[in-house]
């Protein structure tokens, strides 16, 4: 029975109304509905999720990645459409969130679907995209493995249609990656990243404005990894993309058969790269360190008097003692100490001492 399959609601209304329909099925207490609503709103920024469809039948609503599927109340799980719906939603990247009440039944469904199920209590559960449940919430949530961090939610981005379609198909067939979207153009990539909140964006290195796209994705959603593919591998290109915020890359010499493994490695924090790239990275690090050292404040930054005062400060003397020792006024001493602090870019006298001890020969 389709109660309201066409109208769309903001998520808050959808959840409340959806749970209301759940009550229609199951007679759920109102305080529980409010509790669930509060819990969901802590996972999903309401402003980022508009137009959540509301449906009491299983077909149609699940066929768009990015939906939040709320299973509220009791449903007829013997209905094969329901099983198909849950399965389709989870494989298309939807978060399948089921509230306590029919949890046992859902659990059995996941078993029947051959999907590993996990039971977590409210205080420990974390669902995909690292949304933490509010610890004070009561209840139990069952999540399919596919949406519990085991399947990487991937957005494929390339201006070249056949490339993004082909890569999407290849990666989607792997058991470890769920392709939640495919798009081209910087605007689309940014919009889809925001809307779908994937774990990773696989971005074509040839995409116009790619570096800027990476920066914007990382600035708006730091949790999303950006991996650049079809990169002409050199230390320079790798560094350029890395500095823009890319978490990894796949070179244009890679074989499609290896891409799944490479993506998995990158998501685990590992990156395969050529010896030439490693050498280039080491060279750059050495250069950066040298530049950094040259910009560090040295003893030459201090005047002779400031250096003398810094030495006395590091020996543990107070301003009064220094003034007495050097036969200068207390105000002058304070002025020199302040100047030394500024030049050494430190805030406390103890740091002057540390700096002096670190450079005994130079001082």
């Amino acid at each position: 029975m389709r109660v309201d399959g066409v109208r769309r609601f903001p998520v808050s209304a959808a959840v409340l109304l959806g749970l209301g329909l759940g009550a229609f099925f199951d007679g759920i207490a109102f305080h529980r509905l409010l509790q669930w609503h509060h819990m969901l709103s802590s996972w999903y920024p309401l402003s980022s999720i508009d137009n959540v469809g509301l449906n009491t039948t299983w077909d149609g609503i699940f066929h768009s990645a990015g939906y939040v599927l709320v299973l509220a109340g009791d449903c007829d799980w013997a209905d094969s459409q329901a099983l198909d719906g849950v399965f389709a939603a989870s494989t298309q990247g939807c978060d399948v969130v089921h509230m306590a009440g029919t949890a046992v039944r859902l659990n059995s469904i996941l078993v029947r679907l051959g999907m590993p199920q996990q039971r977590r209590t409210a205080s420990s559960v974390s669902i995909s995209r690292s949304r933490e449940m509010t610890p004070s919430m009561d209840g139990t949530v069952y999540l399919p493995e596919a949406n519990n961090g085991c399947r990487l939610r991937l957005l494929v981005a390339s201006d070249v249609r056949f490339v993004r379609e082909s890569l999407g198909d290849i990666l989607g067939k792997s058991g470890t990656i769920s392709v939640v979207g495919r798009c081209g153009g910087a605007d689309q990539v940014l919009a889809q990243s925001q809307a779908l909140q994937p774990d990773m964006v696989l971005l074509d290195a040839a995409a116009p404005g790619g570096l800027s796209t990476v920066r914007q994705i990382r600035a708006s959603s730091a949790g999303i990894l950006v991996v650049v593919f079809a990169l002409i591998e050199s230390a320079e290109t790798v560094l350029t993309w890395t500095e823009a915020g890319a978490s990894g890359y796949i070179s244009n010499t890679a074989a499609t058969a290896d891409i799944v493994a490479m993506i998995t490695e990158i998501s685990a924090g590992r990156q395969a790269c050529s010896a030439a790239v490693v050498a280039g990275l080491l060279r750059r690090m050495a250069e950066t360190a040298a530049v950094s050292r040259s910009h560090e404040p040295g003893p030459q930054a201090l005047t002779r008097r400031e250096a003398e005062i810094a030495r006395l400060v590091s020996s543990g003397m107070s301003n009064k003692e220094i003034a007495r020792n050097l036969r200068i006024s207390l105000a002058t001493t304070k002025s020199h100490v302040h100047s030394a602090l500024c030049k050494l870019r430190v805030q406390r006298r103890g740091q002057i001492a540390t700096w002096m001890h670190a450079r005994p020969a130079e001082s």
Binding site: D159, N252, T253, A255
Partner: protein
Amino acid sequence: MKVRTVVVTMSPLLADIVLKLLKSGLAIDLVEVLEGREELAQRLADIRPDLVLLGLLETESDACARPLLASLPYARFLVLAPNGQRAWLHEMRPHRLALPSFSRRRLLRILTSRYDTSAHGE
């Protein structure tokens, strides 16, 4: 029928994606991968491919496929821009046009339209 295929100057990843796509509809037999263009026409003539996947170099246009097609008229050349953004298929096809009750003027117009006449004014 197996389609004897040669890949020329195309990035391995792009070539792999294209070949995977083609294999879903054609019996592709990858017989050679050429990373350079030295004596390309001769090498292709020796290999006698049915299909050549030709990756363009930066600033190159797909017109580079024309002389190759002239020397291998039985082959098809799928030319791809370096990033795969654009593609062109070069092939020769038998063409037949019926000319019933043609006039001298019509005959001339049909034939001249088959040739680029812009150079004749020089």
